[in-house]
């Protein structure tokens, strides 16, 4: 049988970096092929070449035996290549059918298109109403719209870029069923991920990339997560060392009936949230993205202060109306999910970015900056947190996502916060750095800090948290001890249905 897609010796050179270096890849019809690798390993670049977004510097691509070089995504689509991006490209104020119509070369009849969408969604188990407005859809539903958009063009190859990072475990299972069905009909699938268990469950073959090169090809069913991780990062994964959580430490963060209407018309209103985080414990908040996590972060950090004082209590102070500076003074540290532009100033040096939040640690004299103290702090942070960079003068944006995240985490931890609030601690961070960051959080908790982690990665929460709660549609579930619950139960809660919740009515945002 002719391979559907074959890459030979693909090399892509950017001015500063070689993203792909001699990559060979063969995908057969009906094969689900995983492309596995850490962040920055070159997966995205490779997919962009296949989809015609960018062109290789060297090497050849064969499509069903014929040499091709897709000039642009439209060309790739006419060949039969479809791609579902990690970040969706949908217009929120338009309906599903209108969004789909926009991607078509000619203006279609919306009625007929709606019927087509309905048929495809029936056939592949992707229920979505074509007439609904996109902003009212859950993330899982939006992803279905993206997939349907691709399927309408009957692709022969479907590229999925980290598709499960926004889904509940149950939704992941449904997606896998759809993908298996597609593959059984002969459609090839390129599945990009760094989640080893998913790849084992779904994929027939895996090509592993590290630093732009292929480090191995394997059949995931015959491997263990450990052996694949070794291929991916070149060494064994460290196992986090726990230590005992303190029982009944003092309450460092208390949310007492926090309600807040979002300014953003497509945002989520927070509704009557109650939570306590004590000294010496890590509390995790799970949930599908877009269910109020961002709004909760803004309310806790003070970036969007509340009208009332009591709903947010930090170290016994009623902090609801305080701005971030005053909350930090109380002893709170804070790591936002956006690293560049919020957690760090992209075009400033690492030293300047230390000054950003650590300035209370003896970096100022009479309102003037003590540059020596700043540089010393930055150097300490770089050394202790193993940040790969060009030194304290390196620009923040020159660091890889994982290294910048280590730096920001280090900056907040070195200030010895009494309360640390972290969003997505390892989002987009490679496996090795993620393990390091999780260990740092556990160590900090053991030393007595109260930590609140908001994350969309369930595995991560189960690995580091002492208690877990779920946020769904702006409401927070009760917390449960991690040892007394499991992924299944939290997964159900993520769709808004926990004991005593009022969302049996189906208003939840989860598919």
């Amino acid at each position: 049988m002719k391979p559907r897609l074959e890459l030979r010796g693909i090399r892509k050179v950017y001015p500063a970096v070689v993203a792909n270096d001699g990559i060979d890849l063969t995908v057969m019809p009906g094969e689900i092929h995983a492309v596995l690798g850490e962040n920055g390993a070159g997966k995205s670049t490779l997919m962009k070449i296949i989809y015609g977004v960018t062109r290789q510097t060297e090497g050849e691509m064969f499509w069903e035996g014929e040499p091709v070089t897709p000039a642009n995504p439209a060309h790739a689509r006419t060949l039969g290549i479809g791609m579902v991006f990690q970040h969706f490209s949908l217009f929120e104020t338009l309906t599903v059918v209108e969004n789909v119509a926009l991607a078509l070369p000619e203006a279609p009849d919306l009625e007929a298109l709606s019927r087509q969408i309905f048929e495809v969604s029936e056939r592949y188990g992707l229920p979505v109403d074509p007439r609904r407005l996109v902003h009212a859809l859950s993330v899982g539903e939006r992803q279905r719209v993206e997939i349907i958009r691709c399927l309408l063009q009957s692709p022969k190859l479907l590229i999925m870029d980290e598709p499960t990072s926004v889904l509940t475990p149950q939704a992941v299972r449904k997606l896998f069923e759809t993908l298996r069905k597609l593959a059984a009909e002969g459609c090839s699938i390129l599945y990009i991920s760094h989640k080893l268990d998913e790849i084992q469950e779904l994929c027939h073959t895996a090509t592993v990339l590290r630093a732009g090169k292929v480090t191995g090809t394997c059949k995931p069913a015959e491997e263990t997560p450990k052996s694949m991780a070794r291929l991916m990062i070149g060494k064994d994964l460290p196992v986090p060392q726990h230590g005992v959580a303190a029982e009944d430490g003092e309450v460092r963060l208390k949310l007492a009936g926090l309600s807040h209407a979002s300014d953003d018309p497509f945002g989520t209103d927070l509704k009557d949230i109650h939570l306590e985080v004590r000294s010496g414990e890590i509390v995790g908040i799970a949930g599908v993205s877009g269910n109020g996590q961002q709004e909760l972060m803004y309310a806790v950090s003070g970036e969007e202060p509340l009208a009332e004082k009591f709903p947010v209590q930090i170290l016994a102070a009623q902090a609801g109306r305080m701005r971030p500076g005053r909350r930090r003074k109380l002893g709170m540290g804070f790591v936002p999910e956006e690293r560049l532009g919020r957690g760090a100033v992209p075009r400033m040096s690492l030293a300047d970015n230390a000054l950003l939040t650590a300035h209370r640690r003896g970096m100022l004299k009479h309102g003037l900056i003590d540059f020596k103290a700043v540089a010393a702090f930055a150097r300490e942070c770089i050394a202790k947190y193993n940040v790969k960079c060009g030194g304290p003068e390196a620009q923040a944006k020159s660091l890889s996502g994982g290294n910048l995240q280590k730096y920001i985490m280090g900056r907040e931890i070195l200030q010895q916060p009494k309360l640390l609030v972290v969003a997505q601690p390892t989002w987009g961070v490679d496996v090795g750095a993620a393990a390091f960051i999780r260990q740092a959080l556990i160590d900090l908790r053991t030393s007595g800090t109260a930590i609140l982690v908001i994350s969309e990665e369930l595995d991560e929460l189960f690995e580091i948290c002492d208690r877990i709660a779920v946020i769904a549609n702006g409401r927070l579930s009760p917390t449960k001890r991690t040892a007394e619950t499991n992924v299944e139960e939290i997964g159900v809660w993520m769709s808004g249905m926990w004991p005593g919740s009022e969302s049996e009515t189906g208003e939840s945002r989860v598919a």
Binding site: P15, A16, G325, G341, R342, V345, P346, L368
Partner: protein, 356 residues
């Protein structure tokens, strides 16, 4: 084949600083073309415009005299510009500073106190800052765009000074000219070099550059404002006050423009007239950008801009060109700077046919 601008991954830092020099060179070249197009000998035009103003010590003193208000205003504006606070109304703040400083001089016209001049400086600063506080207030309270508000206030300030010198402050012995009476000697800034018009305002401007340098590059407040300018979300995350940034940015520009205005009436003019400003408030915006919002750069950029002013006067006299030739050169300088900056951040790509 159509050219397309493509963002550079890593804009060159060296080019960022070279771009003002490139803009100057292109402006000179453009000048030669314009002289030729106007039927003048380009080499002669170049000589008259750029060299003859500096042929003697008096010429150099005039250069520093003209550069003084530009330096003062530009360094004040740079404080705000670095934080994305766009005060475009320095011209109006300059005028109100001149009115306030001049008002003190007129009110105490009998006084010989050495405190009179310091009082006038303070009054000028307050006047300019007051005028700039209007856009600051409207921006922080109602989110009104400070570009529009500050710009519109320029016209109000112009009408205000016009009314004063045509009305209540008109010199009764001034043959009905729209001007105040001449200030007393004690209200005139001391001359620095005998035989020239260069006065103590130049020292104030140098002091302002130094203070500006310390504020922008050494102080924590300056750092906070720079963060606000580069990444608003990061400033909010770190807990820096956005309102304080806006107020500081606008008041710094206003106060400096006000002092510059006071220095003009208390220096070369010696009285308040309708035409107190020579467009310094707008030219200083160009100076601030050509100087890369950096006090050292602003020093040199203001000398260059002053030379354009002097060259324009010479060109009127000796080449019989209209006075607007100065503005043509200012415009070219800004145009070439912005153009060069585009190519620092972007490159041209020629792509065949339609893309996507």
């Amino acid at each position: 084949m159509w050219p397309r601008l493509e963002a550079r991954a890593e804009p060159s830092n060296a080019m960022r600083y070279a771009s003002p020099l490139l803009a100057v060179a292109l402006t000179l070249l453009g000048g030669l073309v314009i002289f030729a197009a106007l039927g003048k000998n380009p080499i002669e035009g170049f000589r008259v415009f750029f060299l003859s103003p500096l042929k003697d010590a008096y010429g150099w003193a005039e250069l520093l005299l003209k550069a003084t208000p530009l330096m003062l205003i530009a360094v004040g504006l740079a404080v705000g510009f670095r934080a994305n606070v766009w005060n475009i109304g320095a011209e109006g703040q300059f005028i109100v500073g001149a009115i306030a400083g001049g008002g003190v001089a007129l009110y105490f016209s009998g006084s010989t106190s050495p405190l009179l001049l310091p009082m006038m400086v303070v009054a000028g600063a307050i006047g300019g800052a007051l005028w700039a506080s209007v856009p600051a207030l409207l921006r922080t309270k109602f989110n009104a765009n400070e570009i529009l508000v500050s710009l519109m206030l320029v016209y109000i300030a112009q009408l205000l000074v016009s009314w004063l010198v045509h009305g209540p402050w008109k010199d009764p012995e001034g043959f009905n000219f729209p001007q105040t009476k001449m200030f007393a000697d004690s209200a005139i800034l001391p001359i620095l070099v005998e035989g020239t018009r260069l006065n103590a305002a130049f020292l104030i401007a140098l002091g302002a550059l130094l203070a500006g340098y310390v504020f922008m590059h050494r102080s924590f407040m300056g750092f906070q404002m720079q963060v606000a300018g580069q990444a608003e979300a990061a400033a909010r995350y770190a807990g820096f006050s956005a309102q304080r940034t806006i107020w500081t940015g606008l008041l710094a520009g206003g106060a400096m423009a006000g002092i510059a205005g006071m220095g003009e009436v208390s220096g070369p003019m010696g009285q308040l007239t309708e035409h107190v400003s020579n467009n310094y408030g707008f030219a200083a915006i160009i100076v601030a950008f050509v100087g890369r919002l950096n006090p050292i750069g602003i020093f040199f950029a203001s000398l260059l801009m002053a030379l354009l002013y002097l060259g324009g006067e010479q060109a009127q006299q000796y080449l019989s060109l209209p006075s607007s030739i100065s503005k043509v050169f200012q415009g070219m300088l800004l145009f070439f700077l912005l153009g060069a900056d585009v190519f620092v951040n972007y490159r041209l790509r020629w792509s065949g046919g339609k893309n996507r």
